[in-house]
Symmetry: C2
Subunit: 687 residues, 2 copies
């Protein structure tokens, strides 16, 4: 490991090379997207009214069409590039221009267009994709209802097939079945992909997708109504709204029939026999939303940290260590704790996102598109999206506070980015529900590993490791032996910074948590549904904790793999410290678990926090390089507090005081005067 | 303890009586303030432009004058009531109408008016207070500068006395000394209380306050300029702005001279000889801002929880335990963890705030107004304000997410309250800096306790306890003895729910952390300033952690004292569980410390989380009562999602499905059909 070779002094970050690595496999596309996002024309104007903002974003969508930046995912035959991952990389970068634009573009091309592409067949593609691509048909993705968001299978909207007319009758049977929170629904949507229960010949075939025209130049088509959701906590450039349908008739062929079709006589056929598997296959296209939110959240965290670290490197307050010069904020330990730990997590999230995008590319390009691959992709996205979106909110807030009142000014970006990204935590899959899905998958894999011995791909991430760790438990036991810890604090810390040790500790925790829950649930197998549900509920908090721990382990692994890609030794040294801050930070956060389960000794546990503090101090001189490597320019940051004004003001003030001290006019500080008077009195007395 | 007498079944909350207790000593004033806050005329209209919102809030200030609700803190002789704590209680409740109104009123009467009242003398009162009270003189509180916020002593604005003209010359020597973020500065302010370095006869007497006219009907007076801060992350009903002064002359008598005066010849006199003590005395009036932010933050947390718990008691999603009925959100363990733990902290914060307000009343009414009292009040406010403001942000966000997409709609209040309260974490004292102040005070008290043996009042909270605990360490040791824990999990939990045990564990942690830091700092005593500063910085994170732990202990103590005031046994039982959730939650959060320092055994530690989960399930049926006791009506909550629409929609949907099942038209679910077909095939085969 290079950190053993290089001394701290010689470690330096090659910012350009690191920046290139961070741009990743789709670097050229990201560069182009950043160029577009750097254009004021497609950036947000703070303080616009909701109506102005909505109109501006809608116009910007056309700019994106003109810039050729939103068709990558569509078929080559229709003017696209069949490049799904590249398309997502491009979308993600839009978040620096305006999250409303990112999400509105995501609704149009990533959800609405994508549903036609992936759930429809060639006839549908030819008929509607050109208009969707060039924005002649702005559309909504009508899945969520007032009554059902996370539980899509239970939506109430019905599409009943009428064989006599060869039409589907779309109907909203009650208020809770109104479609809700749909982008493009309130104003701009001319059509939608509607999700409804398909009923034909008296059988409910479950949720299917239909292409439904919504509006012509006169407004809603007959039988269709809706409402405007109005003002939201953020993303007010998007016209979210509600839709309802009263016996609206659409042609039979408007069923997007890739995974399920209805013949003229009403006969239902599907290439997927199991209704459950069919449902999840159709919902599978949703994964790209989660992938792109993950990437956008990482981008927002990077922007926030690039602003806040830059400011923390300039701003001074209080003169603890010298009578005249004030401290730079980032020299305070607390400030390092606040910003550099989050920088470590952001790096981990960024590397993990790059791997997620590669996995997504494998599946959507068809290169590695087995059922198992799709399931792994979904679990991976479900594990990463909650962590990165929550991390972005936490980072934006901490950066905001770390910049004080200046951080609260809209012009400095934190507050509006935070307001917009707030909903990333619950849309495209509620974070808690996604983590629960991950937890269920871990339980399934755990069962498979030990019962059928045919572990899935994802199981490698955890259960396989857990098994290895179990075999190797003696190593962990050593970590836990107080008797073996009689050495120095430094030696204790050395053991913890060994990546193999970090990995085993992180992996063992996930494996142990999962196996404990599995054991508890196994005890109620075969009991009634309600008893099993109650038992599951009693472990819900633990299961979500385990899923989070699993996600954190994945981030650690991605970060560690990325270290191998770093050519420059100095950069690798610094990034290894940063990885250690991330990994040891996870141990510190969960130190209670490690102690209670005998995985770490008390002595070793006690060294953790101070060792992390020392790592932070060691990273501090490199913090600016590490945020500069994110590569966002002033056109993306657009935060006056990070553009040098602070330095100029300080220089002016310091020059003023320097001259004043040099002049004869300088007022005497009362405290000094009082001290002199006292000294004079003492002198007089002693005479 | 009643929880041993009552069974879970018989425990019930007397909502009316508990509500009365929560209203506290200033119940009548709070009731009147809530009545005013319930008037749509003074409530926020979402989606207004910044200009409209600013104008509306300014008009609302007059409404508050007309309602007679903002003069309580002023002298009886001038139409006030000399009721400082009552005045704050009233201000706090305004947060439910619009935080912008609360803070703008706070600027006008709580900061600007209050500075004239507390730093000025009778002549100033007679001259300016009537106009300040009736809003003829809207004014700013010009303390913070671009270059210095937390470090007020270092501000750059100068007030140089010119004896020949008997005037002060107010001057801004450089850009960093521009006054910044001042409410009322951008538009409405006609005057300000300005903080500047007072220089007379060549001596800088430190920061003093001056009354400075700003604008007449034609705008800024000669020599005065400024800028509008424009859009902020929230509180956009307030016209924050910058001010600068170029050799602006004001009469000598505009010095607010209660704590320092300049005679016509320039001779400076002050009743407080020490410049340091004088500075902190003048800044002492700032404490009321911190007190009222603490109360407002608690109020906002209550509003958020009353909305989110009501929704969680109605909203259903997923049918885990039955084929037809969906679960109510609050029945999910994870949802209980998210909301009821925060409910416990909110109760703790509310009880602690009531005690803070009583302490404030003692000092500001003059009843218990010694130097020690003032210092204790300041430390108490500095400990509580960070905890409650961060808790409010956390609670608003968790409630927002717990309500999903509906929580993101502006009409449901969470997002706009969160945006407005964001800055509460850094203004009127940055939370981290306040906690550092508390930490320093703890260190001082620690030193006094052990060296001089004359502990201050606040020391009682911690060091005294720590001493007792130290004497009684054997009890704690028992808690830590694994050997003694061979009993059941239930018995382990029983020990932890003993309030004496909780108190000792919480107190011991604070005391131990403080003494460890003190020992480390003692080692560098006598070294150079920079070495001492470096050593202090190496323990900054720990010191802030200790201060936070101290604040949490104070909350626990207030909650526990409040239990004694509960007359109804059922209510006391439920509240005792809630206090245990708070107290044990603190142990759970810091379980690593308790284990590493041998205060809890691993076995006992392992019982903690599951015991808390059981407590949450026990509290779950009382959650609605506990939020209803906050007493906010629909006119304060104003959140459609909590007003029963959810129940109505569900009833309609359930009725629809009930009828459908009863009819002959009900479509057959494909899953059931598939199952029947399989059964039929098996039957055919076996024939």
């Amino acid at each position: 490991m290079t950190q053993d070779i290089l001394t701290n002094e010689s470690a330096a970050v090659d910012v350009a090379a690191l920046g290139e690595q961070l741009l990743g496999r789709w670097a050229d596309i990201r560069r182009r997207a950043r160029e577009i996002a750097g254009d004021p024309k497609i950036q947000r104007i703070d303080g616009q009214s909701m109506d102005e903002h909505r109109q501006r974003v809608f116009t910007q969508l056309s700019d994106l069409v003109d810039a050729g930046s939103v068709h990558r995912a569509f078929p080559v035959a229709l003017g696209g590039e069949d490049n799904h991952a590249g398309s997502i990389a491009s979308f993600e970068e839009l978040v620096t221009a305006d999250p409303s634009l990112q999400i509105k573009a995501g609704v149009q091309w990533g959800l609405f267009g994508s549903a036609v592409l992936h759930l429809g067949t060639e006839e549908h593609h030819a008929k509607w994709l050109p208009g969707i691509m060039n924005l002649e048909i702005p559309g909504a993705f009508a899945m969520t209802e007032i009554g059902h968001g996370s539980d899509v299978a239970s939506i109430g909207t019905m599409a009943t097939y009428d064989a006599s007319a060869q039409e589907f009758v779309i109907h909203t049977p009650f208020k809770a079945a109104w479609k809700e929170y749909l982008g493009n629904a309130a104003i701009h949507g001319k059509a939608c992909v509607l999700f409804a229960q398909l009923i034909s010949n008296g059988v409910n075939r479950g949720v299917h997708a239909f292409y439904v025209p919504l509006r012509d130049e006169n407004g809603f088509l007959p039988g269709i109504g809706g409402a405007d959701d109005g003002l939201k906590g953020g993303l007010n450039g998007i016209d979210n709204g509600q839709l309802h349908f009263t016996h609206v008739r659409i042609p039979r062929t408007n069923l997007l029939n890739r995974y399920g079709d209805v013949a003229p006589d009403g006969t239902y056929t599907s290439p997927i026999h199991s209704p459950g598997r069919r449902f999840f296959t159709m919902l599978g296209t949703l994964v790209q939303g989660r992938v792109s939110l993950d990437g956008a959240a990482v981008a927002a965290s990077k922007v926030a940290l690039q602003i806040a670290v830059t400011y923390a490197n300039q701003r001074r307050q209080f003169n603890a260590s010298s009578p005249t010069a004030e401290e730079v904020l980032l020299d305070y330990q607390r400030h390092q704790r606040r910003l550099i730990t989050r920088l470590a997590t952001t790096y981990a999230s960024g590397f993990a996102h790059e791997e997620l995008l590669a996995k997504f590319d494998g599946v959507f390009s068809g290169e590695t598109d087995t059922d198992a691959d799709r399931q792994d992709l979904e679990t991976l996205a479900a594990a990463l999206k909650p962590l990165s979106t929550w991390h972005a909110l936490d980072t934006l807030q901490e950066c905001r506070e770390a910049c004080g009142g200046a951080g609260f000014m809209a012009e400095n970006r934190f507050t509006s980015l935070r307001a917009d990204l707030d909903v990333y935590a619950t849309f495209e899959g509620d974070n808690n529900i996604l983590l629960q899905l991950v937890g269920k998958r871990l339980l399934t894999d755990y069962g498979q590993e030990f019962r059928k011995l045919n572990a899935g791909v994802l199981a490698r991430y955890v259960v396989h490791h857990a098994e290895k760790v179990a075999l190797n438990r003696s190593g962990l036991r050593q970590l836990a032996q107080t008797a073996a810890d009689t050495g120095s604090e430094r030696r204790s810390a050395n053991v913890l910074k060994d990546p193999q040790t970090q990995h085993e500790l992180l992996t063992d925790r996930v494996g142990s948590m999962v196996s404990e829950i599995a054991d508890a649930l196994r005890a109620v197998q075969g009991r009634s549904q309600s008893e099993q549900a109650a038992a599951f509920n009693e472990h819900q908090q633990e299961l979500i904790d385990a899923a989070r721990a699993h996600g954190e382990l994945l981030l650690w692994e991605s970060f560690t793999r990325a270290l191998d890609e770093v050519a420059d030794q100095g950069t690798r040294t610094v990034l290894t410290w940063l990885r250690d801050v991330y990994g040891l930070g996870l141990l510190e956060k969960n130190i209670g678990w490690y102690l209670m389960n005998g995985r770490l000794s008390m002595q070793r546990g006690r060294t953790l926090s101070s060792y992390i503090n020392r790592l932070l101090a060691r990273l501090r001189p490199h913090a600016q390089d590490l945020v500069d490597a994110f590569g966002y320019g002033p056109e993306h940051l657009r935060a006056p507090l990070a553009t040098g004004g602070e330095n100029e003001r300080q220089a002016e003030a310091m020059e003023y005081y320097r001259r004043l001290r040099a002049s004869t006019d300088a007022p005497l500080d009362e405290k000094i005067m009082v001290a002199r008077e006292k000294a004079a009195k003492r002198a007089a007395k002693s005479k």
